[in-house]
């Protein structure tokens, strides 16, 4: 399952790029699982996702909760809380 992941703001800066395509294993079921799986890569990923409670997500154009399943998602965005314009 190939998913496009978009990173924004401080998450993007810590990871060092704004998007990539990943293929998580079958035991990565939810947004929270995905964040944990990415954090386990270490380096910038570990920094970006050091505090998973402060990470927000969207699947496509809709906001998603940590428990939201990612099955079927083609694009997932991960980012810090929005700050308004």
């Amino acid at each position: 399952m190939a998913i496009a992941i978009l990173y924004f703001a401080s998450v993007r800066e810590a990871i060092g790029h704004s998007s990539e395509t990943v293929a998580p294993p079958p035991d990565v079921v939810t947004i929270a699982d995905l964040i944990g799986w990415l954090a386990a890569r270490g380096g910038g990923y570990a920094v970006a996702f050091a505090n998973p409670g402060q990470i927000r997500a969207a699947i496509g154009d809709d906001f998603a909760e940590p428990g939201t399943p990612i099955a079927g998602a083609r694009e997932i965005a991960l980012f810090p809380p929005v700050t308004g314009g």
């Binding site: 924004f8 401080s10 154009d61 700050t83 308004g84």
Partner: protein, 152 residues
């Protein structure tokens, strides 16, 4: 009442007079607006706004529709810039046309409160001493936006 919606998230500046002139002929009798300008101070040299191309505009459109459902509006305009802006640059324009001046003004207040506090943007501040920092969500602004939700 059916409202004409005009929503945009763009890097380019906007022409306030031209945008308001589109709302004036809708027959409402009144057009309220709020223009936000990047504020300087504390050595701020630039503000960088990041947005999610899919989500940000969709969410702004949804809130504009919400305003059009809550107040008797004939037109709503909401334009927000992204990218790197300097103090003094225009950053946001909200406007509403209505036969009732209080409706136009209240809808404008509602939309600008939401845009300033809840809209999906991330802001980074750059300072004259070379430092920079990501702005964090502000609780006070959250309260201003919440007022409207509680009234809803």
């Amino acid at each position: 009442m059916s409202a004409t919606l005009s929503v945009g998230v763009q890097a380019a500046d906007f022409d306030v007079g031209a945008e308001l002139a589109k709302l004036e002929p809708l027959g409402g009798g009144g057009v309220a607006s709020f223009t936000g300008v990047v504020r300087g101070g504390n050595g701020l040299t630039a503000l960088e706004l990041e947005h999610h191309p899919g989500i940000t505009e969709t969410m702004i459109r949804r809130i504009a529709e919400q305003a059009a459902g809550r107040w008797p509006l004939l037109g709503v305009t909401a334009i927000h810039r992204h990218g790197r802006l300097a103090p003094g640059d225009r950053i946001v324009l909200v406007a509403a046309a209505s036969p009732h001046r209080s409706a136009a003004l209240e809808a404008t207040a509602f939309l600008i409160d939401w845009l300033k506090t809840r809209a999906p943007f991330w802001k980074k501040e750059y300072f004259a001493d070379g430092t920079s920092r990501w702005v964090e969500a502000r609780a006070a602004d959250d309260e201003a936006a919440k007022r409207w939700i509680e009234q809803g």
